[in-house]
Symmetry: C2
Subunit: 220 residues, 2 copies
DNA sequence: TTAAAAATTTAGGTTAGTCTAAATATTGTT
DNA sequence: AACAATATTTAGACTAACCTAAATTTTTAA
């Protein structure tokens, strides 16, 4: 059995592996986890010992099959609990991440699949992230970052890459919920800010900074 | 914030305080928790330091107001999660205790009350134990142990004082679910075993050992 | 191609929670 | 009241997960 701490390391390594390919650096783990690099090195040795990562000194790490499976199982739990908290308990989407950080470590093996059934086998969490099925398979999204769209194009807001409470609350305030139809009207030359048309009737201007975290699906 | 370990000590001290009155002995905590007495002593010093227990060396411990409140909050969570697991996820009553042992330590303050609302403010858990309300108040049961009833009397099975899977499965097999109407017909002189009439039509004999764990409410 | 900068690991320490063995206090029994 | 039995605490050690400071390796860039 893995400790909470080990599970958190695996999750972090998984997420970092998704972004850049090639091995994950000690320092990047250190930065995400808020631990010192020396502490990370200690843990990497332990995870390698347990067969969860491939680790070559000074060369960074990657997850083994077993490590990846473990990480995905945790992410599955995290996202299912987030759905539960929003759909069943009525939490807002900006309130659930930290609670799910705790719940994702509950070990009981039967629990996950029963929760999945209870929730009706959801495919995405409240932030638009895909929920892996019980075999660990992700349904991968064809997301385009809003800033990569061309003026004149329309898409559906389908995910966010920044999960902080302050950002999610900002989106809600602007009426930018998942499922919103957004037309990119213009990108301002001066500061890169974006002029949007929301649901065909409301216009809104947002910063490039905010737009970088909005993940869109083309309509079709 | 208290650690998982501290919370488990508080819960154990609470339960032991309920049984016998007067201070709780180091050895009894040691026995329940499966730790050595020396380890218990270390923890008692720490809990006293934090103002959660009254501790006089060699004289045993009792919970302070703060300690009792903390313990009750954990028990509330434990029992609410047990209800959730049985009512919503379809677990059997003998499967939920260990899972609730994990879930009871989830810290998120809003979660408990939302769960309580979602479940419809249940007053008892799947084993018949009362669930304290959000002010920490228990609705105390007027339970009588089955072995204390007189032959000829009838009551409703309303709780169990032994929560092990093997015992709960045995009860289920015998058709002894919570809510069952039981008439005590006769106590055998030879071995103290009890002859019962269940739901007015089915007769059943159970050992004194088993009967000691069955908590009854008189009909009225 | 080499020296400086950056990344990573090693060495040595700390704290929480556990242990065993030994010391001490309390309780029970003649 | 005194001694034996029992309960409890103290002393000293261990592991997991962290830390700082120093050493080492890799990378960058003159
Ligand atoms: Mn999350
Ligand atoms: Mn999410
Ligand atoms: Mn229980
Ligand atoms: Mn229970």
């Amino acid at each position: 059995m893995n400790s909470f701490t080990e599970e958190n390391y695996l999750k972090t390594i998984f997420h970092l592996s998704e972004k850049a390919d090639g091995p994950v650096a000690t320092n990047s783990i250190s930065e995400v986890m808020g631990n010192k690099a020396a502490s990370v090195t200690d843990m990497l040795r332990k995870l390698a010992e347990k067969g969860l990562i491939n680790y070559v000194k000074y060369q960074g790490v990657s997850l083994t099959k077993k490590g990846r499976e473990t990480a995905i199982a945790i992410i599955r739990k995290h996202r299912l609990w987030e759905v539960f908290l929003v759909e069943k308990l009525g939490f807002k989407w900006d309130e659930v991440h930290d609670i799910a950080e705790e719940l994702e470590h509950i070990k009981a093996p039967e629990l996950v699949d029963r929760l999945d059934t209870f929730l009706g086998h959801p495919t995405h969490d409240p932030h638009g992230d895909p929920i892996p099925n019980s075999h660990g398979e992700f349904q991968h999204n064809e997301w385009i970052i809003l800033t990569k769209m061309n003026p004149g194009q329309t898409g559906i807001l389908s995910g966010v890459s920044e999960h902080s409470t302050v950002f999610l609350q900002y989106l809600e305030q602007q009426g930018l919920l998942l499922g919103t139809r957004i037309k990119l009207e213009e990108i301002m030359a001066f500061d890169g800010s974006l002029k949007l048309l929301i649901n065909q009737n409301q216009s809104l201007s947002i910063s490039r900074e905010a737009a970088k975290n909005l993940l869109m699906l083309h309509e079709n």
